[in-house]
Assembly symmetry: C2
DNA sequence: ACAAAATTTTAGACTAATCTAAAAATATAT
DNA sequence: ATATATTTTTAGATTAGTCTAAAATTTTGT
């Protein structure tokens, strides 16, 4: 039999819950999560600082816990942190975040393409798989999947060096009357939203022509794949990414 | 964006590092590991109690830590524990252990069959993947792999209900002169042992005929696949499983 | 510009899982 | 059979990550 200490590891007296190594720095599972969330929220806020409260909301912890963690991440030089002013990632922090996001999105491709999961079922599983620590595994998985550039939600997959494929999506809600666009992604990944799209047969890659924009509620009348008439609320239109 | 609390979860004030749920009981990552190791050591010791020191050795912790954990696992009724007398698994504990072992071995098949890893490279990665908590994922992975009964080391894979395929392997060291056998598994998974076998082209499923057993050191002279003469030490012969 | 509201940080406490050192129980050897 | 050695457990401490409550800072509204 051959065992090894798998994901808990004691360094000196210190217990780390799942480690990965970047430049010989130990990164805990929890730290990876914070960095990933900071990356995604910064991206969503066009590069602006992310606030403690926003982080508390998305890590599902309390602001006090976030403050503690921010102090720690700042000490390790993963984030730029001025008290009360929110945070952004340093270069080092961004590389770690991109590594986690890369794994998350590759696993999502695996779950959909190889195991036949729906795009509404994969998030929570990928949330676990994204922390598996093996460079070689990530590389081989990437090759096995055919080096995909985008995940099943249309999100770009960073390459091994952390470089993101460039994307220039617009929201469907920004598209004007009679324009034809291709559905490229979603900006919300909640199962209920994705299932709503499934019901209307709106899938990645489908054609959408804007036939009508309601004056009343800004809902959209669409022609799907030059065949089917359908209507989506403005809420849906704001979360559909097209080009 | 859609986040969820992935693998750390607070119940009341309690922090769990990675949870899985069996009968609504929360099982931490660490508990899963202890149960798995108790299962494997009990199996190896023909159903006899496992000692605290043996567990400390295999969990890579100290005996004092093991004692603490045993108390906890006994409280939750995962193990039968009489102080100073070692432990065995209860039915509940065994089911959890078998679930972890099932995932470990399925992932090993995936790593070798789909990603092209060598059998000497997969243990540490599977050690992480075995804790991914999703019934549906395990089921789909199992189907994707063609419902394998054995992993790349020849170890049996328990089914979804925890039932192990029955195996009746013998050690090569128990085989008598001139017998022909098929290589079915290994009882040690260390990379160095597996690489040693690779060098000699000893693989799962190969034919081995015992041509010679040295009086001096009990090493074995073998005929591999009716073609190649080779010699293995008694140490190797004891860890090759055949039938 | 200042008071009130909101946000963020600090202080102090808790849990899981570990540790070391010491005490208790069991096993071994003469 | 008893002293010694080994193994196991207990006691007390530590760390990461969380919590609540209170204090500090920033933002907002008049």
């Amino acid at each position: 039999m051959y065992f090894c200490k798998p994901r808990l590891s004691a360094i000196g007296n210190r217990l780390f819950f799942k480690l990965s190594t970047v430049d010989n720095q130990l990164i805990s599972f929890t730290e990876e999560n914070y960095l990933k969330i900071i990356y995604l929220l910064t991206e969503r806020h066009n590069g602006n600082e992310v606030s403690t409260n926003k982080l508390a909301e998305h890590t599902q912890t309390k602001a006090a816990s976030v403050s503690d963690m921010l102090r720690k991440l700042a000490e390790k030089n993963y984030i730029n942190y001025r008290k009360y002013q929110g945070v952004t990632l340093t270069e080092a922090g961004e590389q770690i975040a991109l590594g986690v996001i890369r794994k998350h999105r590759l696993w999502e491709v695996f779950l959909v393409e190889k195991l036949g999961f729906g795009w509404d079922e994969i998030h929570d599983i990928a949330e676990q798989l994204e922390h598996i620590d093996s460079k070689e595994l990530t590389k081989r998985l990437d090759d096995f999947l055919g080096n995909p550039q985008f995940d099943p939600h249309g999100d770009p997959i960073p390459d091994a060096k952390g470089k993101m494929p460039s994307v220039s999506y617009q929201k469907l809600s920004e598209i004007t009357l009679n324009q034809s666009v291709v559905m490229m992604g979603v900006s919300v990944h909640s199962p209920s939203f994705l299932q709503h799209l499934d019901k209307q047969q709106i899938t990645l890659g489908c054609d959408l022509k804007v036939l009508e924009i309601s004056d009343f509620d800004k809902s959209y009348g669409l022609l799907l794949n030059n065949k089917i008439r359908l209507f989506v609320s403005n809420e849906v239109a704001r979360n559909l990414l097209v080009c």
